[in-house]
């Protein structure tokens, strides 16, 4: 099935290191994203989960070239927009129209000195969309209506809105340029639980109406499971498992994913009390100096000597279900 679907976004061994100065004349690197290869089909929602600091936000931003990648390759809609080997770097402006971003903290993502109308209108102006004064105003109120606000809100400043409303403005802003692909960077984790579902439902409705493609970054597995078609699990900058949403949640094969899933609370309190949780020892290692071999081996209950030596590659273990773990090779 996946063979027939169109890949909208693809990254090949995308890598992002941040330099940090450690003392005089010495620079080390935070290895935030380590050779992540994945693709997102047109019209699907790919969920990306992992604990804080695992590089999922950095991956989203590097994919959009908000951060310049360290190495790797990014393909959008068949066009290579970044390739470190062939030294391809394209002007991102036309792609900014197609690829958009929604942030975690809605209040921080809106310029406090501009009215909502100006914030949305600016995006239209840059790409010379709706140049007529009336058209522009109509488009702004249409966008506001679409996200459940009304056109009078265009003259207000962001701080006059609640968190949920601000996130709606952020979404309207992203939609203004008619994008195909949106990176949702933890769009609901800063919101109240009651508002989270509203925003998630709105994102789903928009996807159904306009045919958007999402990269949905979150740490809340239950939300990701609900919204995503496929889920990727990241640990310390590496993609460790990738699979269909249902399949991955029902049968996680990577030890880290198993741990992560065992931490999701169940709705049935009886089951919740009796099931066994896998608890990890220790903290997440520093991405400044990540463990050798498999980055998870320091905390993995099944780690062997090979795991410390060799970095496992992502392999297909069931149709459409990928994982990077030596243990699975041995079993197969």
């Amino acid at each position: 099935m996946s063979g027939e679907r169109k890949k909208l976004v693809e990254t090949v061994k995308l890598r992002k290191y941040f330099p940090v100065s450690s003392g005089f004349f010495k620079t080390s690197h935070v290895q935030a994203v380590q050779d992540v290869s994945l693709h997102i089909y047109e019209g699907e929602t790919l969920g990306l989960v992992g604990e804080s600091g695992c590089g999922k936000t950095t991956y989203g931003r590097t994919l959009l070239q908000m951060y310049s990648p360290t190495s790797g390759k990014i393909i959008y809609d068949g066009q290579t927009i970044y390739d470190s080997e062939k030294n391809i770097r394209v002007d991102m402006k036309p792609y900014r129209r197609k690829m958009q971003l929604i942030f975690q903290d809605p209040s921080a993502s809106l310029d406090p000195r501009m009215t909502v109308g100006e914030i949305i209108g600016e995006a239209l102006d840059i790409h010379k969309l709706y140049p007529g004064k009336q058209d522009r105003a109509d488009r702004i109120s249409e966008l506001l209506t679409r996200v459940g606000l009304n056109s009078e809100h265009a003259n207000r400043f962001p701080h006059e809105f609640s968190g949920g409303q601000q996130q709606r403005i952020g979404i309207a802003r992203a939609l203004a340029v008619e994008p195909q692909f949106i990176v949702c960077d933890e769009p609901i984790s800063a919101l109240d639980v009651s508002i989270q579902s509203q925003v998630v439902n709105m994102l789903e409705d928009l996807q159904a109406q306009i045919g958007l493609t999402y990269l949905f970054i979150a740490h809340d597995l239950s939300v990701v499971r609900h919204i995503s078609n496929r889920i990727g699990v990241m640990y310390l900058g590496c993609l460790v498992e990738l699979g269909e949403s249902y399949e991955l949640c029902a049968h996680p094969i990577h030890p880290y994913s198993q741990t992560l899933l065992s931490a999701v609370p169940l709705t049935d309190p009886e089951k919740n009390r009796t099931r066994s949780r896998i608890l990890l020892q220790g903290d997440i290692p520093s991405p400044l100096n990540p463990p050798s071999g498999c980055r998870f081996h320091t905390r993995c209950p099944y780690a062997t000597e090979r795991c410390a030596r060799e970095m496992p590659q992502l392999k297909e273990h069931a149709p459409g279900h990928y994982a990077a773990c030596h243990m699975l090779d041995a079993g197969a």
Partner: protein
């Protein structure tokens, strides 16, 4: 309260401030020993006669009352000594002294802002790189060096050794005459503005709305100046109020060193000569300038940051 009401209220407060400045200056300057008519040759009788002529024999409080009464009518009195008999308003506005000082002061202010802000933006954008490091050293030096040192060094280097610029600026007849006084006066505030802008830009540049602006596809220049700078300007604007005061006091030194017959220079002489009406006139003029500048700053806040409600009660 609307903007107009607020402005009117602030102006009323400004008048009170000026009244207070007038009172303090008046009583302090009279507390300085000596008199405008005291010379080596003058006899006590002559001094008493002169005092009586100008009403200086009356109790201080009466003198102050008379001064205010005349001031309300627009009469600032006459010079007692330096230009005996000439009215103070003519000295301040009629002889080009004020214009001369304003020219230098305003130019210095303009140079400080026009160079200081972009330098700060540049530093923030290239934070930690060599260009930022070099500018950081330069701006720190600019703040650390007192005006008279800069002035003397400039005079020696550009005026004497290289001979590029005139040593005495006099009444600023040529373009070259402007360069050194204006740069000397502008250097310190320029470096301060650059530092303030840099710090404040570093804060706003890492905000999500800057990423939003980038994601919209804006050019880096527009992102920096429209989104980041606008959100970083409050500390710089706050500094503009005291800066005006700084430029005025700085002008005293600069005018002295470059031989510019401006108001600052005259102000110092008026104090040394105990020329009471001239001291009062000059002080009030400078105080009014500072008060007006602070009012302008408060109104500028509102323009830069629409969230600030300056007209709110309790401010």
């Amino acid at each position: 309260m609307d903007m107009l009401g607020y402005t009117l209220k602030r102006m009323a407060i400004s008048v009170l401030t000026l009244l207070l400045v007038a009172a303090i200056t008046f009583f302090l300057m009279n507390a300085i020993p000596g008199s405008p008519f005291m010379t080596e040759k003058s006899t006590p009788q002559q001094i008493a006669l002169a005092n009586a002529k100008y009403g200086l024999d009356k109790p201080l409080i009466v003198q102050f009352g008379n001064y205010l009464k005349n001031l309300a009518k627009g009469d600032m009195g006459v010079s007692l000594k330096m230009q005996e008999g000439t009215s103070v308003s003519k000295i301040l506005f009629g002889q080009g002294k004020f214009v001369l000082s304003m020219k230098i002061g305003l130019l210095a202010l303009l140079v400080a802002v026009i160079i200081g802000i972009p330098v700060g933006v540049l530093q923030a954008y290239y934070r930690g790189r060599w260009i930022d490091n070099i500018l950081r050293v330069i701006t720190t030096m600019g703040i650390a060096m007192p005006g008279f040192v800069v002035a003397t060094l400039c005079l020696f280097e550009f005026g004497v050794t290289l001979g590029w610029l005139p040593v005495q600026s006099n009444s600023l007849e040529t373009f070259g005459a402007y360069v050194m006084p204006v740069l000397t006066l502008a250097l310190n505030p320029m470096c301060r503005i650059a530092k303030l802008t840099r710090t404040s830009m570093l804060d706003s540049i890492s905000q999500d709305y800057i990423r939003t602006a980038n994601a919209k596809g804006l050019k880096t220049r527009v992102v920096l100046f429209k989104h980041a700078l606008r959100n970083s300007l409050i500390p710089v604007i706050t500094y503009l109020g005291p800066l005006t005061a700084g430029i005025i006091t700085g002008a005293l030194v600069v005018e002295q060193i470059y031989h510019i017959p401006g108001l600052g220079n005259y102000f110092v002489s008026s104090i040394l000569n105990r020329d009471y009406p001239v001291i009062m006139g000059t002080t009030l003029l400078l105080a009014a300038l500072i008060v007006i500048m602070n009012l302008v700053v408060d109104i500028a806040y509102k323009i830069v940051d629409p969230r600030i409600n300056i007209t709110k009660k309790g401010d």
